[in-house]
């Protein structure tokens, strides 16, 4: 998920001809003062924290300014915020526009239908989850013919628009659909969409680009996301790595197996701290890297659960043994291993030669891991280094 900040999303909107308020992104109070003083952003203006989390209105992350001095002040106070755990680095200053009504619009994927879906509601400016189902219009869009005119008319009717406002919405819908398609988006959300005079305008922009399509969009390669620093490193190395609240790390191969292993751990009282899916690999080096990464997350215990398919047991064992040599003393962790499947015998032998015993029963392995996390004094059998 490449989640774009509001100001970037609005930049894409403008590129596609979707109206947005006049605005400038700034990174300091001085810039804010200058932007408003020179008229690049007409006053009065809105000052908005550029964070990915929603609900900014309630957390002081959106303020208003009538003078350049006020704009500077608001920017400074917002830049000092940490909003839902996220440091504010950028602030968007936008001309305040006079809004007659607010609507909700989004394009996303309907997985069951295998079609994009347009969702619209005449109740905008609130979280769509809080809108009753029956007040939301859902229009599946067949990818071969796109968003048809008769479908756009359904939205126009829902919003009760006519004349130039209807025409403006019709045009915006077509363009927003264009954004969803041509930018390989998984979400394009405009909430609120404002009725301003006789036209509609995007007052917010939430655009999420699909990770897998990143190769077609090098322009987003620098986008900061809401990953932790370790998750970011893992992503670069092509390892699926998710940090959770607990203290036990799980290294497995395959998303389903990794999740299932975490579930069993949780069921037996363990607290999952890291989800690490090796994926399919036959490179012991990648396995070593995965272990070194896991060590950085400082787990109290790690459970290695491998079913050898594409990823063979001996590859994992070899990579693990190498990691055992490289992990610094301060980052060592107790390890429980269970490896089965392709080249199981070879893998088990390699582990054994390094002093690690592979258990075969899942329940027993999990219980051993939970115990290891609870008793951090001395490392149990099967420990890294």
């Amino acid at each position: 998920m490449v989640k774009l900040a509001e100001w970037m999303g609005k930049g894409i909107f403008r590129k596609h001809g979707i109206p947005t308020p006049v605005g400038v992104v700034v990174r300091s109070a001085e810039e804010a003062e200058a932007a408003t003083r020179t008229g690049r952003v007409p006053l009065p203006c809105v000052v908005k924290a550029q964070v990915l989390a929603g609900g900014r209105g309630k957390g002081g992350a959106v303020q208003f300014a009538n003078t350049p001095a006020e704009a500077a002040l608001a920017t400074r106070s917002i830049l000092a915020l940490e909003f839902k755990g996220e440091k504010v680095r950028e602030v968007l200053l936008e001309q305040k526009v006079s809004i007659l009504r607010e609507f909700y619009l989004s394009f996303a994927l309907d997985r069951s239908l295998r079609m994009p879906i347009l969702m619209a509601s005449a109740q905008g400016g609130v979280e769509v989850e809080s809108v009753p189902e029956e007040a939301i219009l859902r229009i599946p869009i067949h990818p071969f013919v796109g968003l048809a005119g008769y479908e756009r008319r359904q939205v126009i009717r829902l919003f009760g628009l006519s004349g130039p406002a209807a025409k403006s919405l019709d045009d915006l819908l077509d363009r927003a659909w264009g954004v969803f398609q041509s930018e390989d988006a998984e979400l394009v959300e405009i909430n609120p969409l404002g009725l301003v005079g006789s036209g509609v305008i995007a007052l917010d922009a939430k655009v999420v680009i699909e990770d897998d399509a990143a190769f077609r969009h090098p322009e987003y390669s620098e986008v900061r996301d809401d990953r932790t620093p370790l998750e970011e490193i893992a992503r670069e190395k092509g390892i699926a790595f998710v940090q959770l609240d607990g203290n036990i790390g799980v290294i497995a191969n395959g998303a389903g197996l990794t999740m299932a292993t975490l579930d069993v751990l949780a069921e037996f009282g363990g607290r999952p701290g890291v989800f690490l899916d090796l994926g399919g690999t036959d490179d012991p080096g990648k396995v070593t890297e995965a272990f070194l990464l896991m060590a950085k997350a400082m787990p109290r215990a790690v459970f290695l659960n491998i079913f050898g398919g594409v990823t063979r047991c001996d590859t994992v064992a070899t990579g693990l043994v190498e990691a055992m040599k490289q992990v610094p003393a301060s980052e060592r962790f107790p390890l429980v291993a269970r490896i089965r499947g392709n080249n199981e015998a070879e893998g088990v032998a390699i582990l054994k030669s390094a002093g690690v015993t592979s258990l075969s029963d899942l329940k027993e392995s999990v219980q051993a891991t939970v115990r290891a996390a609870e008793v951090p004094v001395e490392a149990p059998r099967g420990t890294v280094a």
Binding site: R114, D184, D212, A213, A255, A260, A266
Partner: protein, 294 residues
Amino acid sequence: MSVLVDADTRVVVQGITGHQGTVHTRQMKLFGTRVVAGTTPGKGGTEVEGVPVYDSVREAVGATGANASCIFVPAPFARDAYLEAVDAGIRTSVIVTEHIPFHDMLSMYHYGLSRGSRIIGPNCPGIASPGKAKVGIIPNVVFRPGRVGVISRSGTLTYEIVSGIKEHGLGQSTCVGLGGDPVIGTSFVDALPWFEKDSDTDVIVLVGEIGGTAEEDAAQAIRSQVTKPVVAYVAGRSAPPGKRMGHAGAIIARGKGTAESKVAALRAAGATVATFPYEIPELVATQLKALEHR
């Protein structure tokens, strides 16, 4: 009979000269699959694991009568490879490739649909009927012929479960791994009726995970179209909202896609839902025994 593949399935491996293509061609052949051709543009005329390589799928189909394909080509070219398969008359394609953009999959899926072609996957382990054929990458060692049908969104978790069934002294009719991507060519809803109709299947094992509503949709299908016993398992009960758990599709978003919702729907539809994956073989055995006493 069996589901989707059988002893007459003639497989062309697209991307056969790549590492994965070569390794799994060998494994499929060891399984007993009739791998009749491979393709890699520019490598026509060569051989891989005794299988003739062609420049295009059309040539491969013309020369060998291939009717199913197994796609290993890299993600940026996967859409093209599938279109080529469809246009060459291939009716079933297993797409192993991961990281295919879902916008590409949308056009692949709907094009296939309009041309009578079926995708398993992408990012999936494929399909196998022990004693007949395997198209994909599921390890051969986990199988043993039997009467349990397995449908799963997972890869290795499926191996774990299928292997458990074998170790419990049971066997499988057909096992299909659907893949964990947001857009997949074959869903539970598509696959359940095949197993319901399959005379070789007595019990169906359904392995789901968090994200989307595939399991809820499956529950509807079970209620209306499935009379055989279903044993289900859903991975990801401990996963927090908003995090993609390895699979692109495994995410609880905006309150949708939780394990609780899926387990509840499956239970309400009459499925037996396991709490731990290792419970599945015993639950299946119980269902089989109940069928015997009917």
